[in-house]
């Protein structure tokens, strides 16, 4: 990448990052900081709500009463799935645009205005939720009605997000016009572009449904419940697909930063991102598979989204990211056997461990369960059970949030220029968080298989005019779910403690002195593997019997076996429930 002459004319607005060599625009950096700080606060609020929800769903404790359970569940859903994630994603766009493209930040005042709108909208939603005027859960299904300010808050937040996304597009135009990069945009920026396009699709659906619902909440018009569900999921599910694109971009970025991972084939990775752009949003139809208003053709077309093109894309990334890590390690001399590169990997670098755990749990648990539940016939035995939150906690939490956390350990030294507080704790944080959430997701999946409902305050249905009998194992499974959830919350707590402390009270990191701070910043920033010229006596790219990346091929084979076993086990379960003949 070459700097433009226009940048040289205004040098005071830029600093050159001593670690990456990137020119960092002052306003972009400040905006990234602001978005990251608010995202962390949202994570804290959502995390406290998670603890309260968990201690209520755990029947042995059953902490909250029914009213407060649904109120706090709404708070949990909105803060985690909308506010935390989207504030962080806007920070990712601000990084992947002006900073990775070495260009100035266009429309700075507008960007701050958009940030202000997002914060204002968020505060309005928080106020209505905490004052009991919006006990409608994350989905806010019509005819459940919240105070009109709840919908207004969401609209303001969405408008702010749309403006920031627009500024990202403007950055692409500015960078191209001012020739701040050569050739194609970097793959990470292309991934962020994918996230931005999905964000636009998402926000258009949000506007299409929340504006009429706002008028409906003021008694000015009617909203059809089925139309609401269909259009709302164009927002609700697609917003989680922004996560997927952002997460995969972060995977590629972390692979480069932590071990000097390479991109095996730019063309293949970019095609996979384009498959996301074209087909992933249609996965929203998963949520309507048992709705009587929609026909089978619409359901099958959209959930099989052009023969699972988006699933194909995820599987491509699921191969290319670990393969890029393996190739990067082999290029640096770690060529022994299938897994010599894995044994010698920097497992004490929280960025690397977060990357690996995010890829593994997202793929093995989130991906496999998601594709299985997206099958129309199987969905009937999974819908509205705990299997669904079991699935999306593996994708959004163990996948996306884990990747965001991993990136944070690099953002603090690179963007905030601070050392990381409590670094020994931070090194174990990814393991605690990932294994806790893995246990949580698996237990939820098992509980749902035995018929435990999602969202319900009291799964024993006490006081109901009918009796519900669960498997005797249910109490143990729910206890395991609670233990896993508590581990995850502790891991999340360490993340929040370390980030907040580092950012506000942390010791500064002098530029160019990273090597002196081993033990308080990630290893990748000390070794800088992306600057090394790989050297090895062997030819790492010479394909052996199992190809150039045999370790990854072996791991992918295990993935496919797990996929087939889980998928057909669900068909077997369906046959027990719904016997034919």
């Amino acid at each position: 990448m070459s700097a433009s002459t226009s940048q040289a004319a205004i040098p005071s607005l830029f600093r050159t990052c001593p670690s990456t060599g990137l020119k960092v625009h002052d306003h972009a950096e400040r905006l990234i900081r602001a978005h990251a700080v608010v995202a962390t606060v949202m994570l804290l609020v959502g995390g406290i709500a998670a603890l309260l929800v968990l201690l209520t769903r755990w029947q042995a404790i059953h902490l909250l009463d029914a009213v407060w359970f649904y109120r706090i569940l709404t708070v949990h859903g909105m803060n985690m799935l909308i506010f935390f994630i989207i504030f962080f994603e806007m920070a990712v766009l601000l990084f992947a645009g002006p900073i990775l493209l070495n260009c100035r930040m266009p429309a700075v005042k507008t960007a701050w205005g958009a940030f202000g709108l997002m914060v204002l909208g968020m505060l309005l939603v928080q106020w209505t939720m905490w004052t009991g005027q919006a006990d409608v859960l994350f989905t806010s299904y019509v005819p459940l009605q919240a105070h009109s300010n709840f919908y207004l808050g969401v609209i303001l937040f969405a408008v702010g997000t749309l403006i920031t996304t627009g500024i990202f597009f403007a950055t692409l135009v500015v960078a191209k016009r001012e020739k701040t990069y050569e050739g194609s945009v970097p793959l990470v920026t292309f991934g962020a572009l994918t996230a931005a396009i999905i964000a636009v699709i998402t926000l258009l659906h949000g506007a299409a449904i929340y504006i009429p619902t706002w008028f409906w909440s003021m008694g000015m018009m009617e909203v059809d419940a089925q139309v609401y569900r269909m259009v709302w999921w164009g927002l609700g599910h697609s917003s989680q697909q922004i996560n997927v694109a952002a997460m995969v971009s972060i995977w590629y970025l972390l692979a480069t930063l932590t071990v000097g991972g390479v991109v095996l084939n730019q063309k293949v990775s970019r095609i996979a991102f384009v498959l996301y752009i074209l087909f992933i949003s249609m996965a929203s139809a998963h949520h309507l598979l048992v709705d009587p208003g929609m026909g089978s053709a619409w359901k099958v077309w959209n959930t099989s989204y052009f023969m699972y093109m988006a699933v194909l894309a995820s599987m491509i990334h699921g191969f290319t990211v670990p393969a890029g890590v393996e190739m990067g390690m082999r290029l640096r001399g770690f060529t022994q056997g299938f897994f010599g590169w894995l044994k010698r990997a920097p497992w004490g670098d929280p960025g690397f461990s977060s990357l690996v755990l995010s890829v593994v749990v997202f793929g093995f648990v989130g991906g496999i369960t998601g594709v299985t539940f997206g099958t129309e016939q199987i969905n009937i035995i999974a819908h509205n059970t705990l299997r669904i939150p079991g699935h999306f906690h593996a994708t959004v939490v163990s996948g996306t949030a884990m990747a965001f956390m991993g990136l944070t350990w690099y953002v603090i030294p690179l963007i905030f220029r601070k050392r990381i507080a409590f670094y020994p704790l931070v090194k174990i944080q990814p393991y605690l968080f990932a294994f806790g959430m893995l246990l949580f997701s698996l237990a939820m999946t098992f509980a749902g298989t035995f018929g435990a409902p999602r969202r319900l305050w009291d799964m024993t249905y006490s006081g109901a005019p009918f009796d519900v009998q669960y498997s005797p194992a249910m109490d143990i499974i729910i206890a395991v779910m609670a233990i896993g959830g508590l581990m995850g919350i502790v891991g999340g707590g360490i993340y929040i403690l370390a980030t907040v402390w580092s950012v506000f009270f942390g010791k500064p990191l002098p530029e160019g002195k990273e090597a002196e701070y081993v033990g308080s910043i990630p290893l990748g920033l000390i070794r800088r593997p992306w600057t090394e010229t790989p050297a090895t006596d062997e030819d790492p790219e010479a394909p052996g019997r199992f190809g150039a990346v045999p370790g990854t091929v072996f791991l992918v084979a295990i993935f496919f076996v797990a996929f087939v076993v889980y998928y057909f086990a669900n068909w077997a379960l369906l046959s027990f429930t719904w016997q034919v003949g």
Partner: protein, 62 residues
């Protein structure tokens, strides 16, 4: 940071614009990708879905 593993060495002249493959040229047009993404979702999910709901025959009263 630059992950262009397919980029030509510095000694080679940069490729002429007409040498850039069609797929790459398409991928470098963000607004085209944006329009394609919106169009497919609008037609197959939202448009078709609205058509299904709005043409649903009313259930006969018991």
């Amino acid at each position: 940071m630059d992950q262009h593993d397919t980029a030509p060495p510095d000694s080679e002249p940069p490729p002429e614009p007409d040498e850039i493959p069609l797929g790459q040229r398409l991928f470098e047009r963000p607004f085209l990708l944006l329009a394609a993404g919106i169009l497919i979702m609008a037609v197959f999910y939202t448009g078709w879905g609205l058509y299904e709901i709005l043409t649903l025959p009313p259930a006969p009263l018991p």
